[in-house]
Structure formats: C-alpha cells, structure tokens
Symmetry: C2
Subunit: 387 residues, 2 copies
C-alpha cells in the first residue's frame, strides 16, 4: 500500500440541535473539510459515509448520494457504511484502503448521526439494534445493561471500583469543558460522578455517553500528493478493521474486546510502532468501562490495570498518556455514525497543534479506536506527523 | 487492477418465508456459496454485506459481523453497505475493487433482505426512505408514485404505451415461471397485465416488483488463483458504481438515469466491449418502466426505443438479447438488499451453463445492472467466460 494522508478535516459542533436536519449537518462538516484543504467538490473521486441509523432516527435511507448530491458531488461512487458505533471508522478504513491501493486519489469520508428527533424516546431501542435482537434484545438487554455486565465482570475479575469508572467521567468532562465543539461543557466532581442517578448498576448516568447530533469529515489523499493541498498533512501510519461475534454470550471473555486487540496489533505492526510509543489517543468511551478496557486492549497498560491507570491520573490531559483530550463520547458527545471520523479529526487537531486550551506538548503520534456494539466491530488507526 | 473472478455462487429461494429470520437466510446463501467453491470460512479475508433496511424491517442492525459470526467468520473486516436497492451491487463493487487492487484474495460478498414481517404494512414507507423524505416523502410520493411519474413522462416524450410496459411484465413472469428459485412462478397474459389493479397510474400491480425475503452470495478471488477453487470461474470484465441526486426534481431529465449511463460507459470501457457485444443481461426492473429505461441507458437500443424493443420480443428468452432470464425483480422477487448479488449469481448461472430450462445458447458475455432508489446509485457489472 502507498502511504495515505489526511489533508483536510471538518466538524460541526456536537449537541442537541432540534432545528437541524441530518443532511445539513453532514453537508456542513463536508464543506468545512473541503475548505480546509481548498478542494472543490468536483475533484472528489469517491464519497464514503458512515451512518448508523439515519433510517430509524429520521426515516431517511440512501444517505450517501443524498448528502453527496447536496455538496455538489455526483457521478462518483457514494456509499454508506454501517457498522453500529464504528460506522464512520469503518468508512474511513475502507477509504484509506482504497486510496492506499491506488483506486482513488481524493476521497471524502463523512460521518453523521441525527439522534434527537421525534424518535428520541426510542433511542435506546434503536441503539439496541447493534446488539443481538434475537437474544439480547428479546431479553430486554439494551446497551447500558450489556456494558453494566461487562463492568461488573471487570470489577469481579480485576478489582476495578466505582471510583475508577467515575475517574474516567470526571477526566472526560474536564477535557470536554475546554472543547468549544463539545456537547456537554460541564466540569463534574468525583462526588457528583459517584452520586449519579443509576442507569444499569454499576453504571450511573455519568458512566454513559451522550445522545447527540453532529457530523464530521476528513479528506484523504496519497501522501505524495498531500503537499499540493496542505502544509498540515497527517499521515495514516497504521489502520485495521476487524470483527467478532455480536452477542456477549458468544464471547469467551467479556472483559476484553478481541476485535480491538486484533485491530490494534495489526495497526501497530503496519505503523512499526509499539503501544508505548503512542503519545495520546481518542478511544471509544461509550461507557466509562469501555475506556478502561480500551487502554488495556490497546496495550497501554496490563490487562486489569486500566482502572487504576485512570484513577491515578495517567490518562489526564497533563498526564503521561492523555486519553480523550476532546472530552470523548462522554462529554464531547456521541452522534453514533459521526464518532469514528470525529476521532480522526480530534487526533489530527492535536497533531496539527490546533487543539487550543487542550493542546498537548507531545503531539507527533496519536491513535484513534472506534468500537461497534459490544465489540463486534473495531477500527484502530495510528496517525502521525514529523516530531 | 488485476483481473478478478467470481469463484462461487449461492442463493436462497426468494419468497415470503414467515418462519425464517434474516440471519438464517444470509447464512444459507453464504454457506452454499462457500460450498460451491469448496472454501472454508477460515479462509475468508473479508466479508462485504449489502442490506437496505434490516434495522427497519426486523430491528437488527450491525448485520455484517452478526451474519459473519454465524458463519464462523471473525477477526476480519465485516462491513455492511447500504445504497438502497443497489446495496449489494455496491458491496460487490467495493469488494471487486479491493481484490482487484490487491488488498485481499478471498472475499465473500452477501446480500440479504427480510421484508415480510410484522413491519410489512409499513413496507412502502420504509422503501420511501430511499427517496428524499424531506421532499418526496413529505409529499406522499412513495416509489410507485415516483416511477409512475417517470413512466408518464416516458410515454409523453417517446410514445411508450401501456402495452409496452405490460410486455415487460408478461416476459418476466414467463421467465420466472421456469426458475425454481423465483418468488412468483406464475405465467400471465397480456390481457391480465393490462387489466391489473391500478397502483399509481399508469402502473398496475403487474408493473411492480415483489416484496420478498431472500439472500444471495458470491465468492471472489484474483483470476490467477481461480483455478485452485473452481473449473467454472466467471471473470469480472468491467464494473463501475456511480451516483446522482436522490430527488427526482433535482434531475434534468427523469426519463433517463444519468448514473446508469455513466456506470455503463465506465464498465464497457474497462471490459473493452460495446453494448452490442452483450449477449444477455439482468437489469433492475423494480418497475416495468425501469427495465425499458435500462435497455436504453445501457445502450442496447436508442433512447426512447426501449418500449417497442420489449413489445417486439427482442428481450424475450429466445429473442436476440434476452433480458432478465431469471424472471427479474418482477417475478424472481426483490428482497432489496439481496438483489444486486442475486443478479451476479443469475448472470453467472447462465455463463456457467447452469440455468436449466432458461439456459441460453449464447452465454459467454453478460451484464448486470443494479439501481438504487430512483437512480441515485447505479452499479453495472460485465461478466464473461471464454466463448
């Protein structure tokens, strides 16, 4: 594969936007991204879109040409990818693979979700469709319940505590409060996090990510053409997508996500780096326990040590390995189909030195990890610039 | 791109199967396909799935790993593609592109839809999600209405008649009656077709395709490895996916599908053949008028001559250029997400000489055309074997 670069990024703010429709959000992100790289729509050779449940949330399907057409992109492949919460991570993986393999030069990758609408009361049911509806869904196990079981098992097996989960929430809220595009810019204390309203024991409202509207986009190109468009090219050093069973009861061990481990190993190998080389990461904290497990599965800490790692401040903004400097899904927001590409944008902003108040000192090698459902899809991407 | 071959095919029967769930249909097609090529699940390097509206029809999302896992395929990219009625055509296009570019060797491509369920009363509304719900949908224009407008305009502009539309239905029912896997094996007369119950004038029930359950799968590999698996390799000579605006009112001319023309031109160029070289085709007859327009857009006849071409029997099973020898979406059935890959299977069956009663004498070069919505996505594939 030839090297691929991210040459443009664009995001909408994340939040609850009752007056915005799905398409306008996606178009805003796409246009900002094309402006960032100074590329006109007529130059785009393919459009890859990640969206989880537009048809269920707002009744609109066939979203890729629908959005592409509104941006003035027609006559090229325009395709929607759906992989639950990893939908746009998957779109990005396939787009990078295609550019890397020489199929296209300039590809726009978008992600969008419009979750607040008249279907919002059904949001938990719609999200449950990313699990096994014949088993888990029929038993009433929605995603908070599935991740509560995962958390409970992690506590039993590794001694993880409520305080360790709460530490993730406190840290991500602190980061999100500094992010002008975050959904919930609200600092919370450990006491507040521990006293959160129970959702599915041991998870409280502060352990759950947000129901958000939003969109994100990136433009990719072969690295050897990046300089035509930008002085701020970000290299895709490693990337992999893998899969596993959907239902929790088909997994040998629910305290680890086999697909994440496999995708991480492939991505590290492709990039020629080790987990210890990664300076910072955006990981998929759909629930606080998911961030703890991600730090373990990605090899940042030993298995079972993710909880203390968070509690000790190792993943804090000014800690040794900052995690989710954007605020993560917990505070930045989690418009499901936008999340994977938004993570790429957030890592790119750090690499480009554009993260404002949240800017890190060491910002030449970052990682993004996007998770679908309870681990059936995983996409891991390693991005870098010259140190 | 290196040459790619279809080395295995597998289909379920199409029909209304109240006792079957979506996953079991997809798994049946996938397993038949892997058996056809004698390839075990552990050899599959990626799974590409086309599905239009599983989440809306049966509440299940995240379908690619859900189905892959049930076939014993984990640890590899498993991705769902959605492009309305061209969902699995799009999955096939991306899979062929990936194998052609050298990303993988053995890729399984599936398509599935389970349309008969407790949501069947809402089927027209769900299908309408492939159009512009903010415009067309809000105005109450479901797909029969959109294609009725297209038919009316084609009649006005080119003198197409009700008899010409009916001729397509009569021919496709005659073919489908000979296809053991078809949903509706019922011969109809011209009189019956003309006297059909009106759906959206000028379209009657006999102008509309069926609401079906079913799945299809193909296995692809680099042509230079095909002989390891099969003596019946089918070459992918040309393939293209293109897009256009979703809403009819954004198109200059609704009697032609610009995306189909563009995809056809690219596919012909890649294959180094002309429309006149194509011996037979499976085209996307979601409505009879769509088959007529397809024969024009693909260059089989001059613009406006598609109606007489059908009426004169040129597209009949024993005519000069047989179209939809499978029975087409009209009689074989149209489980939306399965249709694109099923067309590839049907063309491959003719090329392999396995079409039974419907077997053509000339069967070395065929074409499949898959349409999404009212033309916003088009995939055209040219397949061949040594004559």
């Amino acid at each position: 594969m030839r090297p691929v670069a991210v040459i443009g990024i664009g995001k909408t703010a994340f939040g609850a936007f009752p007056d915005r429709d799905l398409r306008s959000l996606a178009v805003e992100a796409g246009q900002k991204c094309m402006e960032d790289a100074d590329v006109s729509p007529s130059k785009i050779e393919a459009f890859y879109l990640g969206n989880f449940a537009g048809p269920s949330f707002v009744g609109q399907n066939h979203l890729a040409p629908y959005i592409a057409g509104a941006m003035g992109i027609t006559g090229v492949p325009a395709t929607r990818f759906e992989a639950a919460c990893a939908s746009s991570g998957s779109a990005f993986f396939h787009a990078v693979s295609a550019v890397g393999a020489g199929l296209y030069d300039l590809v726009l990758v978008g992600g969008v979700e419009k979750m607040t609408s008249q279907t919002t009361p059904k949001v938990t049911e719609i999200l449950a469709g990313a699990g096994d509806m014949l088993g888990e869904g029929r038993a009433g196990a929605t995603f908070p319940a599935l991740f509560a079981m995962i958390a409970r098992r992690h506590m039993y097996q590794y001694g993880t505590t409520r305080e360790m989960l709460a530490a993730v929430a406190v840290k991500n809220h602190a980061n999100g409060a500094k992010n002008p595009q975050a959904h919930m810019r609200k600092v919370i204390t450990m006491e507040q996090a521990l006293a959160g309203k129970p959702i599915a024991d041991p998870l409280t409202v502060y352990d759950c990510s947000l129901i958000s509207d939003g969109a994100a986009a990136v433009l990719i190109a072969p690295l050897d053409r990046a300089a035509e468009f930008t002085k701020k090219a970000v290299k895709v050093l490693g990337i992999a997508q893998t899969s596993d069973h959907v239902a929790l009861d088909e997994k040998d061990d629910i305290t680890t996500f086999r697909a994440v481990k496999a995708a991480g190993e492939k991505a590290y190998k492709m990039a020629g780096v080790s987990p210890q080389d990664i300076q910072f990461a955006e990981v998929h904290d759909c629930f606080t326990i998911a961030e703890i497990i991600a730090t373990e599965d990605l090899g940042f800490v030993e298995k079972g040590r993710g909880g203390p790692y968070a509690l000790e401040g190792c993943t804090a903004l000014r800690g040794p390995r900052p995690i989710n400097t954007s605020g993560g899904l917990k505070s930045k927001g989690h418009p499901v189909g936008a999340t994977g590409v938004a993570q790429i944008c957030d890592v790119a902003m750090q690499l480009r030195g554009e993260a404002g108040e949240r800017q890190l000192d060491r910002h030449s090698l970052g990682l993004a990890q996007n998770l679908g459902g309870s681990g059936a899809t995983a996409v891991v991407t390693i991005l870098g610039v010259q140190a």
